[in-house]
């Protein structure tokens, strides 16, 4: 998981993930289009994202397509986020209970 957080700790890499989220399965050239980063920089960032399993590649004919891989994000969700959602569910239940009790008065 260290690799995932390190890979996410960079605005350029998060921007690449955002671009894949908007349009999954892009070639390197497509990903570079309209970016302020050099092709070499994009290649370097993609390698870090791939090492963290945040990006996976699929060959289609002669094209190498890059995909946002949701698996590590799902891992972060499972380990951290849903614990807080459970608290929120509890808070909403409490709120509902209080409001309904208030209704009875």
């Amino acid at each position: 998981m260290d690799e995932v957080f390190k890979a996410l700790a960079d605005a350029n890499r998060r921007q690449l993930l955002d671009r894949l989220h908007a349009d999954n399965g892009q070639t390197l050239s497509e990903l570079c289009a309209g970016l302020a980063m050099s092709r070499q920089a994009v290649t370097k960032h993609l390698a870090i994202l791939e090492a963290a399993n945040l990006v996976v590649t699929v060959w289609r004919g002669r094209e190498k397509l890059h995909y946002l891989n949701p698996a590590p994000i799902a891992g972060i969700y499972d380990r951290w986020i849903h614990k807080y959602q459970r608290r929120r569910m509890q808070a909403l239940k409490e709120l509902k209970k209080q409001l309904e009790e208030h209704d009875d008065e």
Partner: protein, 160 residues
């Protein structure tokens, strides 16, 4: 060649044989498919005899079929591919899923591609449903294989 719409790669501490069973056994699939939709509160089982050409059905708790298809390739414990079809109103929407299992020491790399969506099925909400569904389903399956327990994401647990 159309490009796949969805790719997912995860590493699971298990054996290819156990992972194959997790993907194909009705009893095992029931433990992780649909656990993450607390609003619907139902489990699903994937049912097939897994011979090439055989029918597959995702049976819901009430006996209704949610999606269905045919086995395209079953090469245990390496590759599993089936068509994945839905009725959207009166229209059948088709697509294809392929799982590849590659052992690497004590873990197995599981790759999923979901592709070949028919024009009827490329509606945004269908792709969005798939993109949201697979991570929850496969992450729950990983947890079951590695810990023997599904993820703690159901409504009953949240209410506890």
């Amino acid at each position: 060649m159309s490009k796949p719409q969805f790719a997912y790669v995860t590493y699971i501490a298990t054996t290819p044989g156990k992972l194959w069973e997790a993907l194909t056994s009705a009893e095992f699939t029931r433990q992780y498919w649909g656990r993450d939709w607390p609003d619907r509160g139902m489990h699903r089982s994937l049912v097939s005899d897994w011979q090439p050409g055989a029918e597959i059905k995702m049976l819901m708790q009430d006996g209704e079929t949610e999606f269905y298809g045919e086995v395209l390739e079953a090469d245990p414990p390496r590759r599993l591919s089936y068509t994945f079809k839905f009725m959207m109103g009166d229209v059948e929407a088709g697509s294809r899923v392929t799982f590849d299992l590659e052992p690497n020491g004590s873990i197995v790399k599981l790759s999923l591609l979901h592709e070949d969506f028919s024009p009827e099925s490329v509606a945004d909400h269908f792709i969005a449903g798939i993109s949201n569904g697979w991570p929850a389903i496969l992450s729950c399956m990983k947890s079951l294989l590695e810990t023997g327990k599904p993820l703690d994401l159901t409504k009953t647990k949240m209410d506890a």
